[in-house]
């Protein structure tokens, strides 16, 4: 399911990115405030008051309120829905343990998957609700618009749940839970080198996604790139691309493109009798690709896809909890949203006070190494006790080790899939 949505999502990210150019500030939000199902007044009233950035009381009292900008409606609503499920599960886990006796409350605002509405939503959260921590958004363009129009220059923490554009790396103040697309290129460069190839032919799709990944691959790859050409989406013929790759003499062929384009190229290569070791980025992987290529023609192909920490016990618990709650398996995207909430809760638990400035100090450290590795929120609170230090814990999320780097990007957790007997088989995972 996630595989199928990848293509659409990349396109949509681009579309929303374009929308980012026409951001207008100062709009009043017209979206409905979605109350979270787990919201309670357990701490005894005064819920709104605790949300002000000047709140300093950390013992007892009402819930801590943070904000979330999500694609509840609009073109990325499929992701938004998964995010909401992940967020609800995380909130239930956090509030079962509580943050030193106080609950966590999340005000969700809809970005409508558009930059303009996303900025309005974030403004409402920061200026009216006064939240010091905003989880948001899905589309990379929306996340960047929010950062540039609302967050930058304040000490509010922004943590994007799903944005993958390499551009976000240039904004260290903007954190994100989903790994940047460029980690895939790095991983691919390593895998191809490990397999003993020193020359590669690379075909990439002529858009932000393809350019971004191809650029990173060029930087990371030490060998020769015998063929390095873009191609447009939706062409009727890719014979030139395939002939060119064959002509380059490289034995390793790397495809950074989408499923229909890759399928056409794989068919072309097969009916031209070309043999090569294929490699691909996540967007060329899918059941449609296998269904429309001749049996055996892709065997041995290696694809790198972003992945949750599927081998970890906490992910398996998350998965079974998710399945019993929603009757559906979770996607990586809901795992990212889950980790956003837990990370926010840990940042609050270890901060001296509930302000943006204080949370900025702690949010990165709670997921970084040297603290004790913890896999759930309850476990983390056990280690932290009443007044733990952020560096005491190293939260290992259900989506991976997280470990925010200096650019606010997480350590990508990737899966290597190899085609065996015309089926994808997981043959390894990579962190970093």
């Amino acid at each position: 399911m996630r595989d199928d949505s990848n293509i659409g999502r990349r396109d949509l990210l681009k579309a929303t990115g374009t929308g980012a150019l026409v951001v207008t500030a100062g709009c009043v939000s017209t979206t409905d405030e979605t109350a979270t199902p787990t919201e309670t007044d357990a701490g005894g009233g005064g819920g709104d008051d605790t949300a002000t950035p000047t709140e300093t009381d950390t013992g007892g009292g009402g819930p801590y309120t943070i904000g979330m900008v999500d694609s509840v409606t609009g073109s990325l609503s499929a992701f938004g829905q998964r995010n909401q499920r992940g967020k609800d599960l995380a909130l239930a886990d956090v509030n079962e343990t509580t943050i030193n006796g106080r609950e966590l409350n999340i005000v969700v605002e809809d970005s409508e998957s558009q930059s303009q509405s996303g900025v309005s939503a974030a403004q409402k959260l920061v200026n009216q609700d006064g939240v010091p921590f905003v989880i948001g958004a899905v589309g990379s363009g929306v996340s960047l618009s929010i950062y540039e129009s609302v967050i930058q220059g304040t000490d509010v923490v922004q943590l994007s749940q799903n944005s993958t554009s390499p551009d976000l790396t240039n904004f260290p103040g903007l954190l994100r839970m989903s790994p940047t697309g460029s980690t895939q290129s790095t991983a691919l460069a390593d895998i191809i080198a490990e397999d003993g190839y020193d020359s590669v032919a690379m075909a990439w799709v002529n858009n932000d996604y393809g350019q971004g990944l191809a650029e990173t691959f060029r930087q990371e790859w030490d060998g020769e790139i015998a063929y390095d050409q873009p191609h447009d989406q939706g062409q009727s013929s890719y014979s030139s691309t395939v002939s060119g790759m064959a002509n380059s003499g490289a034995d390793a062929w790397l495809f950074i493109t989408y499923q229909p384009e890759f399928t056409a190229m794989a068919q072309e290569a097969y009916s031209n009798g070309y043999e090569a070791q294929f490699y691909g980025a996540d967007s060329v992987q899918g059941s449609d690709v296998l269904g429309n290529t001749p049996e055996g023609s892709l065997d041995g192909m290696k694809v790198v896809v972003p992945s949750a920490a599927v081998d970890q016990e906490n992910y398996q618990n998350f998965e079974s909890e998710f399945e019993s709650e929603y009757g559906d398996s979770p996607t990586s995207w809901s795992a990212f949203a889950y980790d956003c909430v837990v990370t926010a809760a840990l940042a609050i638990a270890t901060a001296d006070e509930f302000t943006g400035a204080a949370l900025q100090e702690t949010v990165r450290d709670v997921t970084r190494p040297e603290g004790q590795e913890v896999f759930t929120f309850a476990e983390a609170m056990d280690v932290l006790g009443e007044d733990g230090d952020p560096s005491d814990v190293d939260y290992q999320g259900v989506s991976g080790p997280i470990d925010f780097d200096e650019n606010g990007d997480p350590v990508g957790f990737l899966q290597i899939l190899t085609v065996e007997n015309h089926e994808y088989t997981q043959t390894g995972t990579i962190a970093g």
Partner: protein, 315 residues
């Protein structure tokens, strides 16, 4: 790699463009408007063939590496495309009392409707005919040509259809009437030709050829709801290059545009491939600009011959 391989690729791709462009040009010459639904008519043909092939695919016998069922499916695809076009003509284009620009815009709307209906029925994904892909023909490999029997089938079928159309236009009563109607509809009408009926036949033939083009495009690449629309711009370039309204011009234009599209990878190393030119000579341009080059050549030809390659000749 040899120039021959690129020429072979170009020949196969040209065949598909030629099939699409003659239909478009034929409809233009008689119905007198640029039919933007032509690309989606191709898609309709391809999907109709796909469904039919699901039923008759197992039909025995093989011709040029294709099961006989494929040719049945091809015929159904052609027929369905023709019927859909005729129904559209009767329901939409004929009752509309607008000029050719109005019809052009209407046809864009019709294209959206075709595509939407296909997406409702088949989804937005891509799909293939369940035909085993072939390996290149062994006998041609020593020459550096990598063609499969399917490629040969595409070229051969295109040649048969083009020859058939030529015969129809030149040597049959219907063909003469079609040419007369295209030349001067009023004069044709006063001389006793039922131009309404001729127009109907034009739609049948034009859309049928589009359907065939769609089926072969599906065999060559994938079948997806956008397949026809994606190739439409190139087809228009071919038609205009050939001289809009001229069937033979469309053939020439389609052949030229298809070839240019596939020969673009040669441009950066012209010197190595051609004699009499210094080794280092080449035009540094990437294959992502193949369509841009095709259009540039179209503009250049139109500057020299404003009516296109065969613009002045009657169809």
């Amino acid at each position: 790699m040899s120039v021959l391989e690129f020429l072979a690729n170009g020949l196969v791709f040209s065949s598909i463009i030629v099939l699409s462009s003659i239909g478009l040009s034929l409809v233009y010459s008689i119905a007198d408007f640029a039919n933007f639904a032509h690309g989606d008519t191709m898609t309709v043909g391809a999907y109709a063939a796909l469904v039919t092939f699901g039923f008759v695919g197992a039909l025995g016998g093989e011709v040029l590496g294709l099961p006989l069922g494929f040719f049945v499916a091809l015929a159904v695809g052609v027929a369905v495309a023709a019927v859909v076009a005729v129904v559209t003509h009767k329901l939409v284009y004929e009752p509309l009392d607008v000029d050719s620009i109005g019809l052009l815009i209407t046809s864009i709307g019709v294209a959206f409707v075709y595509r939407a209906v296909i997406q409702l029925g088949f989804g937005t994904g891509f799909i293939e005919f369940e035909i085993t892909l072939l390996r290149p023909i062994e006998a041609l490999l020593p020459y550096g040509i990598r063609m499969t029997m399917h490629d040969v089938a595409i070229v051969a079928s295109a040649a048969v259809l083009v020859a058939g159309l030529h015969t129809l236009l030149q040597y049959t009563d219907l063909g003469r009437k079609m040419r007369a109607t295209a030349d001067n509809p009023s004069l044709a009408r006063v001389s006793g030709i039922r131009t309404g009926r001729i127009e109907l036949w034009t739609w049948i033939i034009g859309a049928g050829l589009a359907g065939a083009g769609g089926v072969f495009l599906g065999l060559y690449n994938n079948i997806s709801p956008r397949m026809g629309f994606n190739i439409l711009l190139v087809v228009f370039a071919a038609v205009i290059l050939g001289g809009i309204g001229s069937v033979y011009g469309a053939m020439a234009g389609g052949f030229l545009i298809g070839m240019i599209n596939q020969l673009t990878p040669l441009l950066p190393r012209l010197g190595q491939e051609l004699p009499l030119i210094p080794e280092s000579f080449g035009i540094p341009i990437g294959i992502e600009y193949a369509n841009a080059i095709a259009f540039l050549i179209m503009v250049a030809v139109l500057l020299l011959r404003p009516s296109g390659i065969a613009g002045e000749e009657a169809t």
